[in-house]
């Protein structure tokens, strides 16, 4: 259950950015969440609500944008999307050992603020 600490850090970062931009209130937070981030969505949403209390984010909406896993295939020399987290091979040529280029993100993508 590390989602609460993730939620707290997310709210801290969002509030800091909102204040720096003269916001009175944050309406929406957009989070890019990689399929291999190890973060459970429901737990994060629960933690988010708690972490927003008494901040500019109170009452805001957390929108999660899923980021699928992409690896760079060493043989095809391009980025490909494996067929699943339990099939981490290149779906085109079957090569193993591709480096991960997307899928671990826990990224504050954008905020919708009111001034």
């Amino acid at each position: 259950m590390h989602e609460l600490s993730i939620a707290r850090e997310l709210v801290r970062m969002a509030e800091e950015a909102a204040r720096a931009n003269g916001a009175r209130k944050v309406r929406e937070v957009r989070l890019r969440l990689g399929a291999l981030s190890g973060v459970m969505e429901e737990a994060l949403l629960l933690g988010y609500e708690a972490a927003c209390r008494d901040t500019l984010l109170e009452g805001s909406r957390l929108v999660i944008e899923p980021a699928p896993v992409r690896i760079h295939c060493p043989r095809c020399r391009r980025d490909v999307e494996p067929e699943g987290l339990q099939l981490m091979y290149c779906p085109v040529c079957g090569a193993a050992g591709g480096t991960l280029v997307q899928g671990r993100e826990i990224e504050l993508a954008a905020l919708e603020i009111e001034r």
Binding site: M1, N21, G38, V39, Y89, E107, A110, L111, E112
Partner: protein, 230 residues
């Protein structure tokens, strides 16, 4: 009321990643490989580590340990019996270690006197996955008693492994451990991970593990820090 969209694009673990990079550079400078050991509770991290330390110590290879546990210092006391410096992190409920906790435990240690720093993470197959501790090697331990499908159930963690240690292989028979299925499942999640089958009780696989450590340390000390992932 005018609303506005602000583009941010910053990792929520940015601060931890930054601290971990600082630690990694310090470790490299000191000639030390940090090894992050992760597994579920009861997979045999401590036993495997005690045997690893005994062997390193009889070969006069200096090592230190940071042991994380939710409560108690039982593991730290077991590890200290192997004769090397041990520091304990009691997380009091937190389910993983982070780079700041490691940095705080290094105070007063002369890192240059160690070849290895073993970090025994909190027993957990979920939360430690995203937290870089500045390690140069991440070892995920899977015991034969746990079931062969653990890698499929916890892909985020198994995918982050540089090496998977299958532990307690002396119990493979009584546990009806399906070795082929386990290896297949590890490869499905992390096709290029090294796999070493070990037993802390019989000593099986420990020579291979020590060789793997030595090679990883050499590689780590000659590598350059990769640019931060976005």
């Amino acid at each position: 009321m005018p609303a506005r969209i602000l583009e941010i694009r910053r990792s929520v673990l940015n601060e931890n990643d930054r601290r971990a990079r600082v630690l990694r550079a310090e470790f490299r400078e000191a000639g030390l490989l940090a090894v992050n050991l992760v597994s579920s509770p009861g997979a045999g991290k401590t036993s495997l580590l005690v045997e690893t330390l005994r062997r390193l110590s009889s070969a006069h290879v200096p090592a230190a340990v940071i042991a994380g546990d939710v409560e108690t210092d039982n593991d730290a006391r077991r590890l200290a019996s192997a004769g090397c410096p041990v520091r304990q992190i009691e997380t009091h409920g937190a389910c993983h270690l982070d780079a700041a906790m490691i940095a705080r435990r290094l105070d007063g240690w002369n890192l240059e006197t160690f070849d290895y720093l073993f970090i025994e993470n909190v027993g957990n197959l979920v939360c430690p996955a995203g937290y870089d501790l500045g390690e140069g090697l991440r070892a995920v331990i899977l015991s034969v008693a746990e079931g062969e499908d653990k890698p499929l159930k916890y892909p985020a963690l198994f995918h982050s492994a540089d090496v998977v240690l299958v532990s307690k292989i002396d119990l493979a028979g009584p546990c009806e451990f399906d070795r082929e299925a386990a290896l297949r499942n590890i490869r499905a999640v992390r096709p290029d991970a090294a796999v070493i089958e070990t037993s802390a009780r019989t000593g099986a696989g420990l020579d291979a593990w020590l060789e793997h450590l030595a090679a990883a340390r050499c590689r780590f000390l000659t590598e350059k820090e990769a640019p931060p992932c976005v």
